[in-house]
Assembly symmetry: C2
Homo-oligomer: 697 residues x 2
């Protein structure tokens, strides 16, 4: 029996006697051979791997590193400088059209952008504000003439600018913003106005200090009618004779001050007191006002126009998700490498402490996150591909755009919450060392925190996804028979997959085997995993749709109440849908993995992903008769077996992420721990070689 | 049917038309009358409520506030000053014995200490290092003569000092530290030495700058024998002629630099190169060395001696848990008040947006955390009472000390993880505003992060608790019959309770009712909740014990492997045990709550706590036949009913925590949101009163 009170048994002589570090003991069912790290790296870095790696390597230059202990003012100034530097040396304009001097490569652009967090996430987000939001808004909401006029200054950073959408009173509910742009035909100008404090623009990057202009979103009013939210290009500041920047007349602002992270960006408020801008400053691709005030738009429906305009800005959500996957990979690279070296408490051999990652609990903490990060990575590659197809024009139609938006809305919450969880678990798994800023986990966590609520609050996005599932379900129910309709979610998930085997009903809930081994074999079957994950989404959607159908003729109050009573379930359904998408993406990637050990290990990792998701919702499968108690019991045991199988490959699996010690700059993950242990072990070996009475000294 | 695409329907005219803010609509089963906030406040502030409130009010003084955007150096200097200030104006020496000028009131002392986070958690932790660790070590490990010599300087802050226990190579495994204190009978001195880099003292508060002395933990070696870990009082620095502090000869150090939080404390490394300290500097209460080098101790067993010494330092774990409960209360005070005012998206009435806390999802995010915080608060009061009994001498024996340590080890992980979860969910629930440093959630989160791994890593502590459960189970199995043994966990949990109704087997897994209403009634029954929570702990302990019993004669390797294969389960069992303790503490408090609405509401909150814990582990109850699918299905529905019942009382429930706007200093929770909404609503009302064509401007 092992030592139940380890701290008692342990004494000065316990550190490793012969530290065969970094070499993991094989387990009976471990894979022979080694992982083809290079092949896996190529796979998960995807189509734009060269762009991605170039961007990673750019962050090796200390000029792009965050300095410790900067004041907010210093940090802001440095990040502005870094933007200029990255403009000179990076490839940050690749996403803009060739006509204005860009690279016409939206996918490659985002792939590079996603890696910028390695230097400092503030560079990523300030760059995102400038080129991804301010610039993109001009690009997508403006017409070519406006591109020619404003994009050069935006791209060159001559005009740092703001994306002024969010207001104090309205965050994710953009349609309800209250700033007005009222057309005055007398002067052919718009009068931009903040009618009350809740309508002030809030949390706007570049607003506190650096913004010379902004794209301002406002309710467009002409001839006494409100045509909904439109965007205008608005000059904000000019440089005075003393060289200082000052707001133009009628414009006010406030510095948001220190934040929980991303302090390299100068967020602030902006407000407008009857500020006049020329008619030509309305970004007019989706709505224009003639000199006499007549409104026109290529899209008649106010609602559709709004969503079309917002849809062009999906890039933010896509790239935040990509960065979140990147930081999860980086965090796991640190925690897994450290966990593979660090030893603590003795086990069977009282002269040698156990490596953290050999403890079951440590495996349970990190390896499922590794599996989720792989799954999220593959799903994110699919999203990026979709994004590129739409925005490069390779495959751009209404349906593709809608699918892209729904997919981005499903993945952004999934990946940003995954990043939060991974960063925190990694930090705790590294103990006190994880809390030191030099090891980077805590500062990344501070910076990435806000990714869960900006560019659309995660819960609000998931609710939108849930509503889309309901709408699709409603349409499918109208068109096809019930059995067919029940598969609609599967069809949507399959959209993402490159490759997809035909479904079959595994009926594991009906026919149950008597043996645990057979149950485990059953769970390993990808068709069974898919079936379980799909079935849950389908059944949940159908249940909510059923409840809503019952009140479709009720009063608005009653209907709202019923809807609200299912809100939590609807959001859970959207999450389950996203989990299925991740599973599909991971599964679709497997046939492209080199056969043998590499494919075997990645298949275990996919199984771990799928089964851990099923384990989390095991009660649902039991209550709804999808799994018997006997089979459900096997899930956890089989996950534990997967952990021991994957453990020897854990370091290879993070090595494939491509983050070297130089990229990570985290002392604990750079072999220092191993050196210290070797020194300690050699000291203790020498001591043990001496007679006992002397050895103790 | 409600608007499935809210953002489309919403437009400029949607903000509240007649904001009857802060008034919550009653639901059919809402309680009549109001909560007796004052009575609840008295109850949850507990025995030392006056101390607690005085400490809270002390933090109203701006002198104790953290300044925004300080450098690490400025923050450290300010917190040192604040310690002097709090010494003058607070009651921080109350925990020391009367003989040395303290208050002889360990419980009252910690109650006050727990609230110090309101000013800045760095004050709490730097004070904790000085008086709670450095001072306590001298007090508990030294003899009266040593108290007289060193405590006055420690108490008065004349000698800021360190608690030098943790080493680079060993954190939670204190028994394995490698610093040595070798006795030299020639000079009657100890030679303190760091044999290799992994033995350097690490993360030591006051080590980087301010520490003049330290209690250093080292392996005590005399006459060639190692007697295990002991503590020595060691001078570290002296002031040079230039007024600067310098390390004494042979002592080295390193500044840990910026951390994830708590940057008001100067953590660092310390190491010793054959540093000589007089024999009298060994804190000798539990082990002494005679001038000739003969070792003696009142405790013969090295292991028991080690645990006795460490046990005297339990105060840290007790107080961290208390602070974690405090910050959870504060975070919920902010998030619930904001959620009760903030409106977003329209519901049935398209002229009036819905209050966040009226959304089911928002209730689901915050109210179960509120229930857990209440439960944790009651459990923490019980722990503090225990702590006071032992350390005031009111009730001090071996068993009480062991129970206190196990209880502290179970509660510290539970409360510190609760704080992390509550701070993060509260921050996200407040959206972008939650990310602004001025609203305090993010900085508290940064500071409290390390509470999960210091003073014993949470996972290591839970494993200790699990081992204790196994040991007790083993003992109970030896003594009494099986049926009796199966209740041992219940008996341990009951220890904490002030009041306890007799148990009965509810047998809900055998006899199942046909009606959902009856099932809900069943779940409301506290005996059923207790039964479900207890049964899970008991069964899990018995299962692990059974697996270990089977290998008790196996090789160490095999036994270790089996133990490791159950490690995750063992830790889950310890968590379940802690959850049961919280439920018991909450339940024991209910009879002391004023009858009527107040007791009714708190009983719902207790039910929410218990059922939400059961819901999280629903699969276990189903797999193990404790709940049928039918009954399990009711759990979530009943939780949702409790949410709507509790919602109208949510603000009262956080008001009872006693944190006013002035204590919280969070602009979003200070009524600013309400004012903004009133201004916006009045503007929109005026506009609606005008003819349509004009109104839009």
């Amino acid at each position: 029996m092992p030592d139940v009170d380890a701290p008692v048994g342990a004494a000065v002589a316990t550190p490793p006697s012969a530290p065969v570090l970094g070499v993991s003991a094989g387990s009976p069912d471990s894979a022979e051979g080694e992982l083809d790290v290079r092949a896996v790296a190529d796979l998960i870095d995807g189509r734009w791997r060269e762009r991605r790696r170039a961007s990673r390597d750019l962050a090796l230059d200390p000029a792009f590193h965050r300095l410790p202990d900067q004041s907010v003012a210093e940090h802001r100034a440095r990040v502005l400088e870094q933007l200029h530097l990255i403009l000179d040396r990076g490839d940050v304009l690749r996403g803009f059209p060739r006509e204005v001097g860009g690279g016409g490569d939206p996918g490659g652009n985002l792939a590079g952008f996603e890696e910028l967090f390695l230097g400092d996430p503030s560079i990523q987000i300030k760059g995102g504000v400038q080129w991804g939001l301010f610039g993109s808004a001009v690009q997508h909401l403006g017409v070519p003439e406006q591109h020619a006029r404003w994009l050069p200054g935006i791209m060159s950073l001559e005009v740092p600018g703001c994306f002024a959408m969010t207001e104090v009173g309205h965050g994710s509910d953009v349609a309800s913003i209250a700033t007005t742009a009222t057309y005055d035909p007398q002067t052919e100008e718009f009068v931009l106005h903040t009618p009350f404090a809740a309508a002030r623009k809030e949390y706007i990057g570049n607003a506190a200090l650096h913004g010379l202009a902004a794209v301002v979103f406002a309710q467009l009013v002409t001839k006494g009618r409100n045509h909904g939210v439109h965007a205008l290009y608005v000059p904000l500041r000019e440089r005075g004779e003393d060289g200082e920047l000052r707001f133009l007349p009628g414009i006010g602002g406030r510095d948001d001050g220190p934040k929980g992270g991303l302090n390299g960006i100068d967020n602030g408020q902006l407000w407008f007191d009857h500020v006049r801008v020329p008619r030509e400053n309305l970004l007019r691709r989706y709505g224009d006002v003639a000199p006499d005030g007549t409104y026109s738009s290529p899209i008649a429906s106010k609602g559709r126009r709004f969503f079309t305009m917002l849809g062009t800005l999906v890039q933010g959500r896509v790239s935040l998700g990509g960065a979140a996957v990147g930081v999860s990979k980086a965090a796991l690279s640190i925690a897994v490498r450290y966990g593979d070296e660090r030893r603590q408490f003795t086990g069977a051999d009282e002269n040698r402490e156990v490596t953290l990652l050999d403890y079951q609990r440590h495996q349970r903490r990190l390896l499922p996150l590794l599996a989720r990060t792989y799954a999220a990575g593959f799903a994110q590659l699919g999203l990026l591909q979709r994004f590129h197809e739409v925005f490069s024009g390779e495959h751009d139609d209404d349906e593709s755009r809608q699918d892209l938006e729904t997919l981005a809305a499903a993945l952004k919450p999934t990946t940003t919450w995954l990043a939060m969880e991974t960063l925190q678990e990694s930090r705790e798994a590294c103990g006190g060392a994880g809390f030191m800023a030099e090891n980077r986990l805590v500062t990344w966590r501070q910076d990435f925190d806000v990714y869960t609520t900006f560019e659309g609050d995660n819960n609000v996005l998931l609710q939108l996804v849930g509503k889309r599932l309901l709408t699709d379900y409603g349409k499918a129910m109208g068109k096809i028979d019930v059995a067919g309709a029940a598969r609609f979610v599967a069809a949507r998930a399959g959209d993402l997959a490159l490759h997809r085997t035909p479904l079959r009903r595994a009926a594991q809930s009906v026919v149950d085997s008597g043996s645990a081994a057979r149950s485990a074999g059953h769970l390993r079957d990808p068709d069974v995993q898919r079936e379980l994950l799909e079935d849950r989404v389908e059944t949940m959607v159908a249940a909510i749709a059923g409840a809503l159908r019952e009140v479709k003729d009720a009063s608005p109050e009653e209907a709202t109440e019923v809807f609200n009573a299912h809100q939590d379930e609807l959001i859970a359904t959207a999450k389950a849908h996203a989990e299925l998408l991740l599973w599909e993406a991971f599964t679709a990637a497997l046939p492209t993995v080199p056969e043998g050990t590499t494919r075997e290990v990645l298949t275990w990792l996919r199984d771990l992903y799928g089964l851990e998701r099923i384990e989390r919702n095991l009660a649902w499968y039991l209550i709804n008769g999808r799994l018997t108690a006997q089979r459900a019991r096997v899930v956890t045991g089989y996950i534990n077996r997967l952990l021991t199988r994957l453990r020897p490959h854990a370091v290879d699996l993070v090595d494939a992420f491509g983050y070297t010690d130089a990229h990570l700059r985290a002392p604990i993950a750079s072999g220092a721990e191993r050196e210290r242990q070797e020194e300690a072990a050699s000291h203790l070996r020498r001591r043990r070689a001496l007679p006992e009475r002397v050895a103790a000294g």
